[in-house]
């Protein structure tokens, strides 16, 4: 049996996986993660409205290592998605489509989200720990 060499190929077979492609997917993944994470926001607000016992329960959860890890992930997801959204605004306005700009803005999104996450957590520990 001979294998035809002219059959259509999927994009993933013909294109090199680039950082901009990965970022496009990450924007979607963080959007979905934030979607699920709103349950945490609702739990927190309802707990506050319910009373000290319920509020103590969510404070216990957020103080646990798994709780902290989820919140850290949520902080990064929000910041990364937000900066990614900003990148979309730049594109919507018609700028940043050149190869160099595209790479630059993508790197800036990634570095910016990680840096801001660290900065916010340092401030949070300083502010929360001081009380």
């Amino acid at each position: 049996m001979t294998v035809s060499t002219n059959r259509p190929l999927s994009p993933f077979m013909t294109y090199r996986w680039t950082l901009t492609m990965a970022m496009s997917f990450v924007h979607r993944a963080t959007g979905v993660a934030l979607y699920v994470g709103t349950l945490l926001m609702a739990w927190w607000l309802i707990a506050a409205a319910s009373g000290p016992a319920a509020y103590g329960a969510i404070q216990g959860f957020t103080a646990s290592w798994i709780g902290r890890l989820i919140l850290l992930g949520y902080t990064w997801a929000l910041l990364h998605h937000m900066l990614g959204g900003l990148r979309h605004f730049v594109w919507d306005l018609g700028y940043g489509f050149g190869a160099a700009e595209r790479e630059w803005i993508t790197r800036a999104t990634l570095i910016g989200s990680i840096t801001l996450t660290v900065v916010i957590w340092v401030i949070a520990y300083a502010a929360g720990g001081a009380r």
């Binding site: 926001m41 607000l45 309802i46 979309h88 919507d92 929360g128 720990g129 009380r131």
Partner: protein
């Protein structure tokens, strides 16, 4: 066709600008509108979260129930709930191709987004009128 033969609108006039989604660019625009709203509300909302860290229930109730904080939080919740509903609908439309399953997923998405949003807003309003 909903229009009778007496309509002056030609078929091309009826579909112009609507595209494959049959509803035009309304959702695309609102996705950006709500994203912009969250962008503006991000710093104030972050300040509110920082104020709550390390504080007990009584303090949290007082902070979340104060008018300025409550309004910021409600605006943020409305923007998020709307944005996540629109965003997740795009994700569903991209990946779920069975018509019935797609409809069910879109309905579930709408219910989830509305429930999370309303529960959070209800909690804020309750906090504002005393727990």
């Amino acid at each position: 066709m909903s229009q009778g033969s007496g309509s002056m609108r030609t078929p091309i006039g009826r579909v112009r600008g609507l595209g494959a989604a049959h509803s035009g660019t309304k959702d695309f625009f609102r996705q950006r509108l709500t994203a912009l709203a969250m962008l503006l509300l991000f710093i104030p909302a972050l300040v509110v979260v920082m104020m709550l860290l390390g504080r007990n229930h009584a303090a949290a109730v007082q902070i979340l129930g104060s008018p300025l904080v409550a309004v910021i939080m409600i605006l943020f919740i409305i923007a998020s709930a709307w944005h996540m509903k629109l965003g997740m609908q795009v994700v569903i439309e991209d990946y779920v191709h069975d018509e019935k399953l797609k409809l069910a997923a879109i309905i579930a998405n709408t219910f989830f987004s509305a429930a999370v949003g309303l529960a959070s807003i209800y909690a804020i309003i309750k906090l504002s009128s005393g727990v």
